[in-house]
Point group: C2
Chain length 243, copies 2
DNA sequence: ACTTTGAACTGAGCCAGATCAGTGTCGCGA
DNA sequence: TCGCGACACTGATCTGGCTCAGTTCAAAGT
């Protein structure tokens, strides 16, 4: 498979127009592909020798555990996303990464990554851009948890996920396949599983979205967008900034 | 002032050992210094021609506004921090930046920034690192809002701020000067101003911290760290990763 | 065919934190 | 010196979302 075809390369290409050299440097990062079963952490908090990964297949979540046992999912990653960048830049991981489904990912070693940055510096800028995009999502998530109520927050989450999946060709405006359980959802939204269940039922009864049987169906996009105060500007981009 | 002395250069130097060339490239970014009065936004949501800034003096906050009028402060920035990186990489700002005190900052134009990355690529990696550190803080903040109660969250916030200020020489283990009002605090913590006031009183009465008259005094660091479940690993680093 | 398991779902009661409606105090400009 | 706006602070009341204690349902195991 050439870099052009990987979702990761496509993503970076949206920011930096990639040369052949850069493409093949990206390709080389995909050398050591590995598979991970559901539930066993790929990276865990405090681990010092962790690698980064480029996600090819499946979903993972990054989360933090508090001493009291509560957990907060920070983000879900879908194919094309880069995982564990912070863990490698800091040498020690500050969060856990757990596969939500069976996962296929290319392992990227610190040295290889820094080496790639040295030889093809524009890729460093591109990765910086991708990291900023991830940060924008975390920020949006933060705002949601801080200031949106459970309905708005849930609606926003489902819309954001849909938009992201659509960008990598895994969903449409009317719905998408979603392997998340309600309790996973609750850990992401900062709610109890019980309350997530009620909110999902309300949204369904109001004819807005259905989240059932591993499938999300958006029935009334406009009202949902309005309810969630959703603005996908932070996911969008209009052509490479670096020619 | 040479790059060696700016807090920003010191911060980047902690990750990438900087050469003279890189130092002077950093220096050049400090050319256009500007001052900003309290309260008038330096950058606002949706703005398309915004610059980035390196903060030299004073405090700012980055926040988002929701349609309902609620606001969520995502982070405060202190001297040495880089502001508005996302706004320039995305061409359009997804958040507001407002001075909390009078501010002095160096304006960094997109072209100059990308140019600097091109000529001194290791600086791109260093900025990527700094951005990751900021993201780590946002993540910690997200976890706090999602899963910590008001007391823990407040305690954690005050400790994190203290640790950051200490790193740039503006505070000690026993306290620091803090120009934030309780209502600013409430917008950051996702609480009401009324409740922040009560929580601060409780923490004071329990002999943990005092937040009063623009001054934070830490009376019992150990108990505070325990209450907040605070682990400053995500702010720390032990020497340059890139020699 | 039966049990086990796990996720989805429900109702009742409770509490952390919001909202409302104030009072007190300082600093500042007219 | 008066008046006004910011900010800190308080008590009373309300409520969103949590916890507890279940039930239902479907899939997998024996």
């Amino acid at each position: 498979m050439t870099a052009l075809q990987t979702p990761f390369a496509r993503k970076l290409g949206a920011f930096v127009a990639l040369s052949d050299d850069e493409m093949s440097a990206l390709d080389r990062l995909h050398d050591r592909r590995r598979a991970f079963p559901v539930g066993r952490d790929m990276v865990h908090q405090g681990q010092t020798d962790s690698s980064a990964y480029i996600l090819a297949e499946g979903w993972v979540c990054s989360y933090k555990l508090l001493s009291g046992g509560a957990r907060q999912i920070v983000d879900f990653q879908i194919p094309g996303d880069f995982l564990g960048l912070r863990s490698v830049l800091f040498r020690t991981a500050d969060h856990n990464i757990e596969p939500v489904t069976r996962v296929e990912a290319s392992e990227v070693l610190v040295e290889d990554l820094l080496d790639t940055f040295r030889k093809t510096p524009r890729l460093a800028t591109a990765v910086l851009w991708a990291a900023s995009r991830d940060e924008a999502m975390v920020v949006e998530h933060l705002v949601g948890i801080g200031r949106r109520d459970a309905r708005e927050r849930t609606a926003h989450f489902l819309l954001e996920l849909g938009a992201r999946l659509k960008l990598v060709g895994l969903g449409s405006t009317s719905g998408y396949a979603c392997p998340l359980s309600q309790s996973l959802l609750s850990d992401a939204l900062g709610l109890s599983a019980v309350h997530v269940n009620r909110v999902l039922r309300e949204l369904r009864e109001d004819g807005l979205v259905t989240f059932q049987y591993g499938q999300v169906e958006i029935h009334d996009l406009d009202r949902l967008v309005k309810l969630a105060d959703f603005d996908m500007a932070y996911l969008d981009h209009d052509g490479p900034l670096l020619k």
